[in-house]
Subunit: 322 residues, 2 copies
Amino acid sequence: MVTIKDVAKLAGVSTATASYGLKNDSRVREGTKIKVVEAAKVLNYIPNGAARYLKTQKSNIVGVFLDGFSRPTYHKLLDGINYELDKHGYNIIVSSGKSAEQLMFNRQIDAAVIHDKNVKNETIKRVASDSFPILLLDRELKQKFVHEFTIENTNITYQLAKHLLEQGYRNIHFISGVTSYDNTHRYNGFVQAMEEFGVYNPENYYQGDFSIRSGYNIANNIIKNKKPMPEVFFCANDEMAVGAMDAIKENDLKIPKDIAVVGFDNVELAKYYSPSLTTIHVDRFMWGNDVANLIIALINKETDLSRFSKPSGRIIYRESCK
Amino acid sequence: MVTIKDVAKLAGVSTATASYGLKNDSRVREGTKIKVVEAAKVLNYIPNGAARYLKTQKSNIVGVFLDGFSRPTYHKLLDGINYELDKHGYNIIVSSGKSAEQLMFNRQIDAAVIHDKNVKNETIKRVASDSFPILLLDRELKQKFVHEFTIENTNITYQLAKHLLEQGYRNIHFISGVTSYDNTHRYNGFVQAMEEFGVYNPENYYQGDFSIRSGYNIANNIIKNKKPMPEVFFCANDEMAVGAMDAIKENDLKIPKDIAVVGFDNVELAKYYSPSLTTIHVDRFMWGNDVANLIIALINKETDLSRFSKPSGRIIYRESCK
DNA sequence: CTGAAAGCGCTAACAC
DNA sequence: GTGTTAGCGCTTTCAG
């Protein structure tokens, strides 16, 4: 491995001068600088990040930790985070599973953004510190050096449920995802509207896991066994809504005539599915931009974070409901 | 920051003993071990990965570098890589853009997997070394310490084109993605079949960029201006195929009666689009598994890599063509 | 303007 | 079994 020593030797200077020269420090004379840069080039010198980090305690890397790589809502978010981090000279690494825990412990990153229910609160409390802020996108946790930046779910699902109720729907069943901040708050908004109209029934709550398959199974089961049939499946995300619509069509029922369906997320499929799905859009690229700026602010120990506000969604009306 | 020195001091042992104790080395007595582990716990000691890496020159991290985070074909691939790396005690980090280059240079990872046309061959040649193998998924490059593991595109597009020709289609237009290994080889297979049937026309090649929008624009343009109209749009990926189908429907034409469409990748949308899309499926989770095992083999400097073979696709026949 | 040298936190000879 | 210590590659203080 080529080290700065080799560069220094070839350039005929000390390692200190080589180090300064490579950073274009004003102290070194122009001629020396050129010699150093030249030597580095000849030797194909690549600085060792670990060594640098060990010394400076700063890696300029932000870690983003997710629950797998397949959830369609992650992609825009990641692009948004990456775009903005890049603009500010930060690098991004994304990870999942055991790797994520390892990396948080390893201290090779300056901060962490977490959207992964598998990361335990305990772990977060353990690693968060003055020099390692953590931003949570998937839960709330009051703790020093830990911040939250979740979506505003409740109000928007309240609005959507209210809209359905105003259209005359009454027998609305909620298909839930895995227990999580987002899921709970989406349900809360739904419940609020249902209660307002006096038609809330806690039994009409079904536990899924955010997957197409779970939406399909739950809906299929309800359709086959439940009398009277629900008028609407209110799904905690689009994928389950797609599964539910698959089940409805398979049972030779019509959407929205026999059963209406709404989702949450506005994934690509929502637009292309036939019928197209009424759902809630959240601008995740923008959210990602804000996430990046917020984590940078935290790294810089800024205290006025009032300029950051929870992203809210908007309803996209399509064919799957009145 | 709590270091191993602090742990050693609290446990009343040397740093060496502390280090060994934490690794459960057989040399240290059980009682000492317990004292050390206890001290580490009390102090909330977290080992510093940078320091360890600097010493051992091994991070157990594999970097995967992609062209953005949004391409739908990446997700299963990543899950596949992650799953298998995890089984073997390796961690994964995923990155894109400038971050990716930085990380490759930083040497905080043991190996790199690249599927990003923006990473230049020159960069790859520069950083690949005996102790830093690189695996390319998006191109071929003959170079020491650099290996390739691309999809077998040509034969399967040849098969699909042949199928279309056997169904009687003749006027088939190719909608291409950005210039890339995959794109070129998909086109090659297409050309081969067309030539076999004596109907190859190099003019019927349109340059897109793999996006829905580009597929839409190209198809719309052809439909509006080209006489006679093509019988088939042969698209280099599913997203462009979706765009093309959008355009066909918008022009009040029927798929496949007026114009047939085929794609490549078998993304989720292909199944759900109406009409569903005939395309080529590649098992990317499996590919990811193989990628992980191959990169591990490379890290371990194995020489017999014959057990790894390029993944090939299979045609999924659906409604968008005869 | 340049060089010598300390030291970031950890591991692994080596000595006892 | 346990401790001492050199040193991974880099940055940066302090001298000169």
